[in-house]
């Protein structure tokens, strides 16, 4: 077997492993979000575990992978029974958020190595995702209620994300490192 072909096989094996582990982690966190976190009605809208995971994962990836992660995460969020928008609404927003966050942080060690900056990016990501959801939802004719209530929900969700992200970040970062930093040696 030529060395070139051997390398391709190893790459394929690595990709399969990374993809399946990522999918497992995403599905597990999605289930926790839908089955456990959604049981509680937190004041101010609460936090979205799955959204935070997707954004952390995107920040630690290349823009292309960030967009794909955003697509997959958005699709799962669209399937959720509590989503009021049409199918594809969250997918579109998460593709843009995944690509945008990955674009801003890719090959930028000052962003990735600083937990404070990552938390800031995650909070900004959640805030912008909500705002984009609202704006595109308004264009699609969705009804979101009183402006004051919307403002409180967006502010509340951002504050919850700010409060909870520092605790989740080490876990999600370690999971990411476990999936992507392991090398298969020939």
């Amino acid at each position: 077997m030529s060395r070139h072909r051997q390398l391709r096989l190893v790459n394929l094996e690595m990709f399969t492993r990374q993809f399946s582990l990522s999918a497992l982690i995403f599905l597990a966190v999605y289930l926790v979000q839908e089955a456990v976190v959604n049981q509680f009605r937190f004041p101010g809208g609460g936090f979205h575990l799955f959204l935070i995971l997707a954004l952390v994962w995107a920040i630690r990836s290349s823009p292309e992978i960030g967009a794909v992660i955003g697509f997959a995460a958005g699709f799962l969020m669209d399937i959720s029974q509590s989503t009021d928008g049409p199918m594809g609404h969250w997918t579109l927003i998460m593709v843009l958020m995944g690509y945008g966050l990955a674009f801003l942080s890719f090959e930028n060690e000052s962003v990735r190595s600083s937990p404070v900056t990552v938390v800031f990016f995650v909070v900004a990501g959640v805030f912008l995702a909500k705002v984009f959801y609202l704006l595109t939802g308004a264009l699609l004719g969705l009804d979101f209620g009183e402006i004051g209530q919307i403002f409180l929900t967006i502010l509340g969700t951002s504050l919850w994300t700010l409060a909870i992200s520092p605790f989740l970040l080490p876990i999600f970062t370690r999971l990411h490192a476990f999936v992507f930093d392991t090398r298969i040696h020939i």
Partner: protein
Amino acid sequence: MRYGGDNRGRLLLIILIVTSLFLITLDLRGVAVLDGIRHGGQSALAPFQRAGSVLSTPVKNFFTDVTNLGQTRNQIADLRNENSALKELLINRKSADAQLDQLKSILDLAGKAGYKIMSAKVISQGSSQSFSQTVTIDVGSSSGIKKNMTLISGAGIAGVVKEVYADSALVMLASDPAFRIGVRIAGSQQIGILSGQGARHATLQLLDNQTTIKVGDILLARGSAGNKPFVPGVPVGSVISVDNSAGAIAQSAAVKFYANLSALGVVAVVVGAPATDPRDALIPPKPIPTPIPTVTIYVTPSPTPTS
């Protein structure tokens, strides 16, 4: 160095955006495949939500106890005197009693009006990812639940069934911003449209500019054609403030729902409407004020001052 991207990356991004837009278009056009994906997803999630509901109940009870600490202090003091086994029994009993009370009040309400109901438990409270106010209940199409059926709690209207799955159903709460219901004021029979506002209060818009409304007025559901989505006569809420703006075409008012929509446990879906409109039969009784005992003290001055 800032990442500049390459043509392959840009092409991928464009493909993903176009796919998302394609999905949105298909869904807005009502393509059945996408509904099937959502229904399949929900059917797969329902058992996990049920398990999550069971697992999170002690935590929810704990937080409820903490928030109501002032009210339950005496009860906690009594419980301290009992042994651990009895404590556990009591907590379980408390939870069951609360559900029983809710169920009793629902049966009272449904019995008075002649509604045929299917009782259900709330198994999920919706999510923070959207601005909608929804809950998931543990009965679905296998129990005869259909889309657009009215959901009631013991106090009055709670929402309307939005989506039905095999063993669960998604309910839009009355507080949802997209919720609209035709109501009439008990007694005067004036009619209006009540809209959810994403909060505990809703807004009532009267349809006739010649009629007036006042604080304390009771609102009942007018009922829909074919009793879907709303059966007639269900108590909705009471007026807490009236907007008398000079420029408004008709009066509007803020309304407080009778049902506590943030603490729904046991609810019921109205599966059969009564043969006749119950009219004002379901108006909730006015709370009886607790009499405050008064003590009168007579003081008679002594005839000779004491030194």
